[in-house]
C-alpha cells in the first residue's frame, strides 16, 4: 500500500520533469516545476526527512517558483511578438539525450549497488547530542558537528547577493529594487495584510522548535522571506535601498556573529567553532536567531534582484 503511494509519487515527479523538458512554453514549464517542488516535499516526508521536506517545499517549490515566474514575465514583456518557437538541432538533441541517459543509468546502477548494511552516522550523531543540549539531530549536524559547512554556506548566500547587486547599472547603484505590481489587485492586498502575522508567528515557532523537532533557521528564514516578498509585491512597504547601512549590517550580522562565536571557541573551548559545554544550547539558539534574520533578508533580496530605481537624494 505504501509502496503504491511511493510509486505514484515517483511517477508524477518523472512525468512533471519530462513535461518541463518537452513543453514549448516557458511559463508552462515553470508552473510544472512549482508542482514538482511541492511533490518533492511530499517525497522527502516519505524518506523520513521532515526537515528537508519543509525546506524543499518553502524554497524549491515556493521562492524559486516566484523567482522564475518573475524572470519569465520580464522576458515576456521585453520580447513582444517575435517569440518564434525555437528548436535545437536534431543531432545535438540525440547526443544530449544519449549522454543524459548514460548519466542517469550510471547513477541508477550506483543506487542499486549501494553497500549493505548501509554506512550510517546516525549512532555517533545521537551519541554526542547530549553535549549540545539539542534534541533534533539534523539541527545538531547543521549547527554543531558541521557548523563550518553552515557558516560557509551563509557566506556563499552573501556572495551570491553581492553578485546580483553587482549587476546593477551604474546610475542606479544603491537604489531600491522595484517589486510592486503596477496595480496590485485587491485580494493580493488583503492577503498581504492578513497572512504576515501568522507567517511571522510560524517562523518564530519553527526556529524555537527546531532545536528539538523538525524545523530550524533555513525553514523559518524562507517563511519570513516569503512574507516579506508578499508585502513588497503588494506594495504595502517598498523594498529597502541597497545602500542602507542597517540593511547591510543585518545581512552581515548573522555570519559575523557565527564567526565571532567560532573564534571565541579558540579561547574558551580549544578550537574553532567549539562551544563551551554549559553554554552550547544558548550559543546555538543565539546564532540561529541572528542567522534567521540574515537568511530571510538575503533570500528576499535575491528574489528582488538588483536595484532598478535610482537612490533618493
Amino acid at each position: 500500500m505504501n509502496l503504491l503511494l511511493d510509486l505514484a509519487l515517483v511517477a508524477w515527479l518523472v512525468v512533471l520533469a519530462l513535461h518541463v523538458a518537452r513543453t514549448g512554453d516557458d511559463r508552462n514549464a515553470i508552473v510544472a516545476f512549482i508542482a514538482f517542488g511541492l511533490l518533492l516535499g511530499l517525497a522527502w516526508t516519505r524518506l523520513g526527512a521532515i526537515d528537508v521536506a519543509l525546506t524543499e517545499a518553502a524554497i524549491g517549490g515556493g521562492i524559486t517558483g516566484l523567482l522564475l515566474l518573475r524572470a519569465e514575465a520580464h522576458l515576456r514583456r521585453g520580447r513582444q511578438a517575435d517569440g518564434a518557437p525555437r528548436q535545437g538541432g536534431g543531432a545535438k538533441t540525440i547526443v544530449a539525450a544519449l549522454a543524459s541517459a548514460v548519466v542517469a543509468l550510471g547513477l541508477g546502477l550506483a543506487v542499486l549497488a549501494f553497500p549493505s548494511p548501509a554506512p550510517t552516522l546516525a549512532q555517533p550523531a545521537l551519541a554526542a547530542i547530549d553535549a549540545t543540549g539539542l534534541g533534533n539531530p539534523v539541527t545538531a549536524v547543521l549547527l554543531a558537528y558541521r557548523a563550518l559547512d553552515t557558516l560557509l554556506e551563509k557566506v556563499v548566500v552573501l556572495l551570491a547577493l553581492l553578485g546580483v547587486w553587482a549587476l546593477t547599472p551604474d546610475n542606479l547603484w544603491g537604489g531600491a529594487p522595484e517589486l510592486k505590481e503596477a496595480n496590485p489587485p485587491q485580494p493580493l492586498l488583503y492577503l498581504a495584510r492578513t497572512l504576515p502575522p501568522f507567517g511571522v508567528l510560524i517562523a518564530v515557532y519553527m526556529v524555537w522548535v527546531g532545536a528539538d523537532a523538525p524545523g530550524g533557521t533555513f525553514q523559518a528564514g524562507s517563511i519570513l522571506a516569503a512574507m516579506w516578498l508578499l508585502v513588497m509585491l503588494a506594495g504595502l512597504s517598498p523594498a529597502p535601498e541597497t545602500r542602507s547601512r542597517l540593511l547591510r549590517l543585518l545581512l552581515v550580522g548573522g555570519p559575523a556573529l557565527f564567526f565571532a562565536i567560532g573564534f571565541l571557541g579558540f579561547a574558551v573551548a580549544g578550537g574553532f567553532l567549539a562551544y563551551p559545554k554549559p553554554l552550547a544550547k544558548a550559543l546555538i539558539v543565539g546564532i540561529e536567531a541572528a542567522l534567521t534574520v540574515a537568511i530571510a533578508l538575503a533570500l528576499g533580496l535575491l528574489v528582488a534582484g538588483p536595484s532598478n530605481k535610482a537612490p533618493a537624494r
Partner: protein, 116 residues
C-alpha cells in the same frame, strides 16, 4: 529484481537518477536559458534525492534516516537557490542589454535590440 524486493529508499534513489538525467538533458539540449535554469534545478533535485535514499538507508538508532546527508541536502537546497537567483539576475541583465535570452547564435535576419 522483483517489485516486492524494491524498498522505498531504492525506489526514490532510482527516481533521483532519472530526474538527474532529465534535468541534465534540459540543461544541454534546450536553447532557452530560463528553461536551462529550470533543468538545472531538476538536476539538483535528482542528486539530492539520491542523497535522500542514502540517508534513508542509514536509518538506525531509532532515527528515520541518517541526519548527516539530510543536513547536507538542506545546505545544498539553499546554495542551489542562491545560484539560481544569481543566474536569473545575469539572464535579465543579458536580456536587457542584448534582447536575447539564449546563447545560441541569433537566427539570420534578426538584429539584436540596441536600446538600453
Amino acid at each position: 529484481m522483483t517489485l516486492a524486493a524494491l524498498d522505498s529508499a531504492t525506489l526514490f534513489g532510482l527516481c533521483g537518477a532519472a530526474l538527474a538525467g532529465i534535468g541534465l538533458f534540459v540543461v544541454i539540449a534546450h536553447p532557452g536559458l530560463l528553461r536551462r535554469l529550470v533543468g538545472f534545478n531538476i538536476l539538483g533535485a535528482g542528486i539530492f534525492m539520491v542523497f535522500g535514499a542514502v540517508a534513508r538507508r542509514g536509518a538506525a538508532a531509532g532515527l528515520p534516516g541518517d541526519p548527516v546527508p539530510q543536513a547536507m541536502v538542506i545546505t545544498g537546497i539553499v546554495v542551489a537557490f542562491s545560484a539560481s537567483a544569481l543566474a536569473v539576475a545575469l539572464l535579465r541583465r543579458l536580456f536587457d542589454l542584448t534582447g536575447r535570452d539564449s546563447l545560441e547564435p541569433p537566427a539570420a535576419g534578426k538584429t539584436p535590440r540596441a536600446e538600453s
